[in-house]
């Protein structure tokens, strides 16, 4: 039997008052599929991420998350789905500053209603090279370490969908590449990924690259970076 797609969006419309942001947007994403979304500033990428994160309602259209119609979900159920099945990483790490790396990870698991498995946490920290950093606070870590810690926090609950907003935007090429390797390593995380990025070299690492133009998602083609 064919598996239900994780994300199904059809005819999605969203407008801020008279300003149309998303118009007739469609997107289908299978479990474990990794896509990158590119677009100019103001194209509606963040709005789309917020809708995908079940934070933002939309005006029209249909959005199924793992087979559930999002527009009919109650607020509490949306929060539950977001906490359990959606992980998010940002351009900046946004770890809770007064918690250690491990506590940040455990908090995410608690919010997801998933018992934090210490072995799993240790394994993930080892995978991203932060074995010795679990007891450290974010301020004691470098930028790259913070981003990797943020990634571990997002992945510890094994979400169905990982949303990444410019995940390497604040990192140098080498560190960014390493974070990307970890994010896309099936041994670490086998779920679906939607990443928003401005960087073609980052987008190229994904299964599909889509461009958000005029409120719609289109397959992206561009000149290969030199």
């Amino acid at each position: 039997m064919e598996q239900t797609p994780l994300i199904q969006m059809q005819g999605l419309r969203f407008a801020y008052g008279p300003v149309s942001v998303l118009a007739d947007l469609g997107l289908t994403l299978g479990h474990g599929e990794r896509i990158a979304i590119m677009g100019r500033s103001g194209a509606g990428k963040s709005t789309l991420l917020h809708i995908l994160a079940l934070l933002q309602s939309f005006n029209e259209g249909r959005f199924l998350f793992d087979g559930e119609a999002v527009d009919t979900l109650e607020r509490g159920r949306k929060e539950e789905v977001r906490a359990r099945h959606i992980g998010m990483v940002f351009q900046a790490h946004y770890l809770i500053p007064y918690l250690t790396v491990e506590e940040n990870v455990v908090l995410a698991c608690e919010l997801a209603g998933v018992p934090a498995d210490p072995n799993q946490v240790t394994h993930l920290l080892a995978c991203v090279g932060l074995t010795e950093r679990g007891k450290h606070r974010p301020t004691q870590l470098s930028g790259g370490e913070q981003q990797r810690a943020g990634l571990v926090r997002a992945l510890a609950k094994q979400p169905l969908l990982l949303l990444a907003d410019e995940p390497t935007g604040n990192l140098d090429v080498e560190t960014g590449g390493r974070v990307l390797d970890l994010m896309l390593d099936p041994a670490i995380y086998a779920g679906a990924v939607i990443a928003v990025t401005h960087q073609p070299e980052v987008a190229n690492r994904f299964d599909r690259v889509l461009a958000l133009r005029d409120g719609r998602l289109q397959y992206q083609t561009w000149e290969q970076p030199r």
Binding site: S46, F90, I96, E103, L111, R153
Partner: protein, 389 residues
């Protein structure tokens, strides 16, 4: 609210120690002050009750509506009246011994804080008769330095010859000193002094007299006081004076009045301090709602709801108020001993007062914790997430 919220709150507070201490300082100080006030008020109350023990069963309180000094013939007549009817009379002067009532305890202490003094000079006789047990409470003097000087009493000569008889003056600095202010409250006078009978030697002072507390040998005589006092004033040519006769002075009313004052004073001090502290915490958390938006946005991204954030904030304020409040109370209870020692004032920490404080603290905690929690519930998750750009 779950254990998770409390754990998160505890971590936040513990890892922002400076901010926590600063925010909690006001509450802690308020509870310290409240605990000390309660202990002091209760100590005073108990000291006064000890002082007035037995008084009131066979007593009449006469309030003279006279602002001018009374002529010597009044005191002379009062002395005769008392003697004729076997009353024992304690005049309570308005101005002579203001030390206790007007916050100048130093004047009173000079005479009474010497332990040797109180150990040696115990009243044994009154008007030549052995003191009855109840009289041992009555026949003592509370006098300040002014009157002591006028009567020629000092540490070197702690005797006073009154009505041809030598009286020994005993003072208990704690109870009497604090009792002065309490008497003032009971009797609604600004300045007061209690002086042993007989009155004759006091007449020369020609002081304004506000109260005459008359103790009689038995209850029947009390009924006669009003009538005889009217005659007395007429005979003395003082019938222009008005007077109130309160008969008898009831101990339970005295107690009720004191307890009401105790609650009112303690409550007032606590309310003012706690109000200011609450205001401080509310302002602090109002600011935190702004500068912690990034953290709240992160929590939203992790799947928390605004209600969850509200509960976290509620737990934080609750812990902050409760922790600092209990710390303040504990310090206050511990401070009772040195305060009583240094300021020579009666302190009586009591579980009933602590329970009141805990109740007040609970109300304060709720009142302070609810506003930030409710405001957090109104957060717009999208607005918070926009910070994550």
């Amino acid at each position: 609210m779950s254990g998770g919220h409390l754990r998160h709150a505890r971590r936040y507070l513990a890892r922002h120690l400076g901010q926590t201490l600063l925010s909690g300082l006001g509450i802690a100080f308020s509870l310290l002050l409240l605990t000390l006030t309660q202990a002091s008020q209760r100590g005073t109350f108990e000291a006064v009750l000890r002082e007035f023990e037995g008084l009131g069963q066979n007593s009449a309180l006469l309030y003279m509506h006279e602002n001018e000094r009374l002529p010597p013939r009044f005191f002379e007549g009062l002395g005769r009246l008392s003697d004729n009817h076997q009353w024992r009379t304690l005049p309570i002067f308005e101005s002579a011994l203001g030390a206790n009532a007007v916050g100048q305890p130093v004047q009173a202490r000079v005479l009474f804080t010497d332990p040797d003094f109180t150990a040696v000079f115990q009243p044994k006789l009154a008007a030549g008769d052995p003191l009855r047990e109840e009289d041992q409470h009555v026949n003592r003097a509370v006098i300040g330095s002014t009157l002591a000087e006028q009567l020629g009493i000092s540490l070197a000569t702690p005797h006073v010859k009154l009505g041809g008889e030598w009286y020994q003056v005993r003072g208990i600095s704690n109870g009497l000193q604090a009792g002065g202010s309490q008497i003032h409250q009971f009797l609604n006078i600004r300045e007061a002094a209690l002086v042993v009978r007989p009155l004759d030697s006091l007449l020369h002072g020609n002081r304004p007299l506000k109260f005459v507390l008359i103790r009689t040998a038995n209850r029947e005589q009390l009924a006669d006081v009003g009538r005889r006092f009217t005659h007395f004033l007429a005979e003395s040519g003082l019938d222009h004076l008005r007077y109130d006769l309160r008969l008898p002075l009831k101990q339970n009313q005295l107690t009720a009045r004191s307890q009401a004052l105790l609650a009112a004073h303690g409550g007032l001090v606590g309310a003012v301090c706690l109000l200011l502290s609450c205001l401080g915490i509310l302002i602090s958390y109002q600011l935190q709602l702004r500068y912690r938006r990034e953290e709240f946005g992160t929590l939203i991204a992790l799947g928390a709801s605004p209600a969850f954030i509200g509960k976290n904030l509620f737990a934080e304020v609750l812990l902050l108020v409760a922790g600092s409040g209990f710390a303040g109370m504990a310090t206050g209870i511990a401070a009772c001993i040195p305060v009583a020692w240094v300021w020579v004032t009666p302190m009586s920490p009591h579980p009933a007062d602590w329970a009141t404080s805990v109740g007040l603290l609970a109300l304060v905690a709720l009142a302070t914790a609810l506003p930030p929690a409710l405001l957090a519930r109104r957060f717009d998750p999208i607005e918070l997430m926009r910070l994550h750009r």
